[in-house]
């Protein structure tokens, strides 16, 4: 198989690739010129819709469709928000784009804002990206200086201001309504829907929230065309009218126990095995793989025997995972204890739960305490049932929470326990030989404080 020629990452090896000069030398902003010169917002929307581009932030919602949810003939203002609060564990594709090719992202933001008739865009970047922050800030300044942002862009009559907003390091700000609340200066508590942001979002006005990589894809679709985009990836299943297909290139974040971790661009639909072998250079130290996270920790777990899973929008779902997510593949080799993995996962979600909905706030914290008990050698087999029960009952899918954070907390629990139960039971029995089968209440552990 010939290696895919990178498009989104085409520039990143060039010296000073983050500058306007280098970007324009490579043909940058020609898509924007074309859009502003010859297209209407409607044309751009239709084009993106026709391309089948699905949001790269995790949920995979068709971008063009999302744009059409905006009310028709709204007097404005309409807001465009770029979600660069990339906090999903294992994910760093947005960071690559923002650090090495910020103009490709900005071009996408300007085109997307034009398409959605927004005259103000908010660029919401997570706190922990200082380099990306500097480079995007520099890129925005370059754009203003070059007349690519501000009033009357390139003489087209279209005006756009971009505000760069730096988050305060909370995972929940990556949820689109949490992000909107955060920009408004409030606690990032996700909003109840409806109303959806497209109808009532930022400052109670229609709002579109898109991911950084989605914006970069918009740039490429406008520059290379719909046919190019649809030639890559996995076409929609004709048997399934609800399948929107998985078109285009995707940035895969490969990390964990592989020889060459990194951010790689590949067509949607590449399997985990291919990704590890062709891009990751195999498992580190010649060991055997044990499991992999298919797309950020929220998506659950694949066992080594499931590595033939294609990484498109439908693939991981067929293997019991939540979905493709952010396409951040974290590979674990045979030395990894699933107890440690699960403890780490529970700790993350207990720490990041915003605390609004009872099942998530208490469920994530309780699952962490159960994992602490197991790790402390006081676990019981029935704890696994309790963990499963928590996992099965929290989240937006069973309907018990407002946002999807709890689903993300539930999937590692469900997958790890269902796919690695013998190992977990063996650990509990080995570390707690007297009490592993106890089913009655036992004294609470002093060490199990609130995390």
């Amino acid at each position: 198989m010939t290696r895919f020629e990178p498009v989104l990452l085409a520039n990143i090896e060039k010296p000073d690739c983050h500058t306007l000069k280098v970007y324009e030398a490579g043909g940058g902003y020609s898509a924007l010129r074309k859009v502003l010169g010859s297209m209407s917002p409607h044309d751009v929307r239709e084009l993106v819709k026709a391309s089948g581009l699905r949001g790269r932030g995790g949920a995979g919602f068709p971008t063009g469709l999302k744009w059409t949810f905006l009310p028709k003939d709204h007097p404005g203002p309409i807001y465009f928000c770029l979600n660069a609060d990339e906090s999903e564990p294992g994910t760093f594709n947005n960071r690559y784009l923002m650090e090495f090719d910020p103009h490709q992202v900005l071009e996408g933001v300007i085109i997307s804002s034009f398409a959605t008739r927004a005259s103000t865009a908010y660029f919401y970047m997570r706190y922990e990206y200082p380099t990306a922050w500097q480079r995007v800030q520099q890129a925005v300044e370059e754009c203003y200086a070059a007349g690519l942002l501000g009033k009357n862009i390139l003489g087209s009559g279209y005006s756009l201001d971009i505000y760069l907003h730096r988050g305060a390091a909370a995972y929940i700000c990556g949820e689109e309504t949490g992000l909107i609340e955060s920009i408004e200066g409030k606690r990032a508590w996700p909003r109840i829907k409806p109303p959806f942001p497209a109808v009532e979002g930022l400052f109670r006005k229609p709002t579109v929230v898109n991911n950084v990589e989605t914006a970069a894809c918009v740039t490429q679709i406008l520059s290379r065309g719909v046919d190019w985009f649809k030639s890559i990836g996995v076409p929609a299943d004709p048997q399934n009218p609800r399948d929107a297909g998985s078109y285009g290139p995707k940035l895969y974040c490969l990390s964990g126990h592989v020889n060459r971790p990194g951010c790689y661009e590949a067509p949607l639909g590449i399997t985990v095995n291919e990704l590890i072998a062709e891009y990751g250079g195999g498992i580190r130290g010649g060991r055997k793989a044990k499991a992999a996270i298919p797309g950020g920790i929220s998506m659950g777990l694949l066992t080594a025997s499931e590595f033939d899973c294609p990484l498109d929008f439908n693939g991981p779902g067929r293997y019991g995972c939540l979905g493709l997510g952010t396409a951040a593949v974290v590979v674990m080799d045979e030395t990894v204890s699933m107890v440690d993995f699960l403890h780490n996962s529970c700790q993350f979600f207990a720490h990041e739960s915003c605390g609004q909905c009872t099942p998530c706030r208490e469920g994530t914290a309780w699952s962490l305490r159960l994992m602490q008990r197991i790790k402390a050698g006081k676990g019981r087999w029935k704890d696994l049932d309790l963990l499963l029960e928590i996992g099965d009952n929290i989240g937006i899918i069973p309907g018990t929470t407002i946002c999807g954070l709890a689903d993300g907390a539930a999937w590692p629990l469900k997958n790890a326990i269902r796919k690695f139960r013998p190992e977990l039971e063996e650990y509990i029995k080995r570390t707690n030989p007297q009490g592993y089968a106890e089913t009655n209440a036992v004294p609470a552990l002093q060490l199990l404080g609130i995390h």
Binding site: S353, G355, C357, R361, W366, A441
Partner: protein, 549 residues
């Protein structure tokens, strides 16, 4: 009419109504448990206690399509064909899960918690919770801290429904309360140096579905199951909030707002809430006093009414001052009695205590400047009897030193209302009878000083600033030695049997146009007397149009 189906039962709703699942279920007699939802606050749908199954019935085919997951009833609007299922296994499991979650870190200190007995967490646990505790988590904390002058927060009892936070933002508009920290560390808190100090602060205690917010005034004073609630009306200002008086053995322990969408919605102010202390003040007048040659002696209620009646009839003229704290029934009995004694008796509206202006809160709640409950009602009674309502300053200005006959001043004020110079002016009356709660410069020089009833001891009706009449029964009995104004005037009028407010209300309705909307049974949220003022005008307008036609 749109029809909503709750657990298989059809409920008709008005097409104009915007009801959610909880409200519609309540009409079907089904209680959906909830913590965060409150009819007076915005919907956040975060406690997840009200999860139900919902769907839509196709009106043509009759086929029901259910949503394949649980939804919060508080956030689900009811429209024609909406189906709610509130007792399925999935719903029961979700409720049990939320109850279990809320009790993970709860100190379960019900024996020392003020809320025990009226606590949603307690009630729902018995109704919907699991039988065993599966979490073995230690340690429990039981922290408390003051949020302001009125409220103490019991941090670990909180279920994070955020009703109190939303109240301070949406109704009080003062925004003192907030949620601090994140996830399971969340706590309700204030900013250092910015305590909870608004005039509606006590409402957050009522709003709290659990024992997290304690009212410092009520804390540890009384177990709720010992108290009895009596529907009443606040006498603090002319808003006339509907309230419940919670008492045990004739002692008030707290006042709480009673829902009345036409007056106070669900709220009351702290001024009213804590404005009952005078009722049990040891300084209250509790015996009728007769003054002879400057010496006061305790009079005997058995013979006193006849004695008063005789002295009044002999006085050759009567001026009667009716306090705006009296009920309309009492005012009518008193005014009629005055005219019976002296056909030309002057009946005057007593001093109206005024504050420094209305205080309006961002949610619309208003504390009125007029610090008495019934100026309008009493004035209307006087106008009905005498044709015009003279007021207190008219009396003081009309050089009462030249006055003759008797002066009867019905007071009932809970604080100082008359100074020595005013009292000096009124001394000129040869016979001075003062009826009041507390000794005053006027009562010091009265020939007869009679103890008055407090608002909680009265039975009758108040008319608020907006012409809304609300009736109430007595909540507590007056202290021994105190005869309520109503009973005294009933007796003086030589009416048969005991005072009955309904009888007097019927007279009011029959005799005065203003009160003609009154019926025997006044609904719990009162009657709008304005309706009747519009009716004759409307009738007149129709007649005119007929004439033109």
């Amino acid at each position: 009419m749109p029809i909503v189906i709750v657990d298989g039962k059809e409920v008709e709703i008005d097409g104009q109504e915007r009801l959610n699942g909880i409200q519609v279920a309540a009409r079907a007699g089904v209680e959906i448990p909830h913590y965060c939802w409150h009819p007076g606050l915005s919907v956040v749908a975060s406690c997840r206690m009200c999860l139900v199954e919902t769907g839509k019935k196709d009106l043509q085919s009759g086929k029901i399509t259910m949503i394949p997951k649980l939804v919060p009833a508080c956030q689900t609007p009811a429209s024609d064909g909406t189906v709610f299922v509130t007792e399925s296994a999935a719903v029961k499991n979700a409720r049990a899960m939320v109850e279990e979650d809320l009790l993970l870190r709860h100190p379960v200190d019900c024996p020392i918690c003020d809320k025990a007995g009226e606590c949603s967490l307690q009630d729902y646990h018995f109704q919907h919770g699991r039988e065993e505790r599966r979490a073995d988590i230690k340690p429990f904390h039981s922290r408390r801290r003051s949020l302001g002058d009125t409220v103490t927060l019991f941090v670990d009892r909180c279920v994070m429904c955020t009703r109190c936070v939303r109240f301070c933002r949406e109704v009080a508009g003062t925004r003192e309360l907030m949620v601090a920290h994140r996830g399971a560390h969340e706590e309700i808190d204030i900013f250092p140096g910015f305590p909870l100090s608004n005039k509606l602060s006590g409402n957050v205690v009522d709003l709290c579905p659990v024992g997290a917010l304690g009212d410092k005034d009520f804390l540890y004073r009384q177990r709720v199951w010992f108290m009895e609630s009596h529907a009443h009306v606040c006498a603090g200002c002319s808003t006339g909030c509907s309230i419940d008086v919670d008492e045990n053995q004739d002692r008030i322990y707290r006042l709480k707002p009673r829902e009345n969408l036409a007056v106070n919605q669900y709220w009351m102010c702290d001024e009213g809430r804590y404005g009952w202390k005078h009722v049990h003040d040891p300084g209250r007048l509790a015996q009728p006093l007769r003054r002879r040659q400057g010496r006061a002696e305790i009079a005997d209620w058995t013979a006193l009414p006849a004695e008063l009646d005789q002295r009044l009839r002999a006085a050759g003229g009567l001026t009667m001052v009716l306090s705006p704290f009296l009920t309309v029934e009492e005012a009518l009995l008193a005014a009629k009695y005055a005219r019976a004694v002296d056909a030309k008796a002057r009946v005057i509206l007593g001093a109206v205590p005024e504050g420094a202006g209305d205080e309006r809160f961002s949610g619309g709640f208003t504390i009125r400047s007029e610090k008495c409950p019934n100026r309008r009602g009493v004035a209307q009674v006087i106008r009905g009897i005498c044709g015009e309502a003279a007021n207190w300053s008219d009396l003081l200005d009309s050089s009462p030193s030249s006055a003759s006959g008797a002066l009867w001043v019905a007071g009932g004020y809970k604080s100082d209302w008359i100074d020595a110079s005013q009292a000096e002016l009124l001394r000129a009356f040869p016979l001075l009878i003062v009826q009041d709660l507390f000794p005053s410069p006027l009562s010091e020089c009265a020939d007869y000083c009679l103890p008055a009833a407090s608002f909680a001891e009265r039975e009758g009706s108040y008319v608020n600033y907006n012409d809304r009449l609300q009736s109430f029964g007595w909540a507590i009995r007056p202290p021994a030695g105190v005869k309520t104004e109503a009973r005294l005037f009933w007796q003086l009028s030589q009416r048969e049997g005991m005072y009955r407010a309904e009888t007097v209300r019927r007279e009011l309705a029959e005799e005065f146009v203003y009160f003609s909307a009154l019926s025997d049974a006044v609904p719990p949220d009162g009657i709008d007397l304005k309706l009747n003022r519009i009716a004759p005008q409307a009738a007149g307008a129709t007649a005119e149009m007929g004439a033109i036609g």
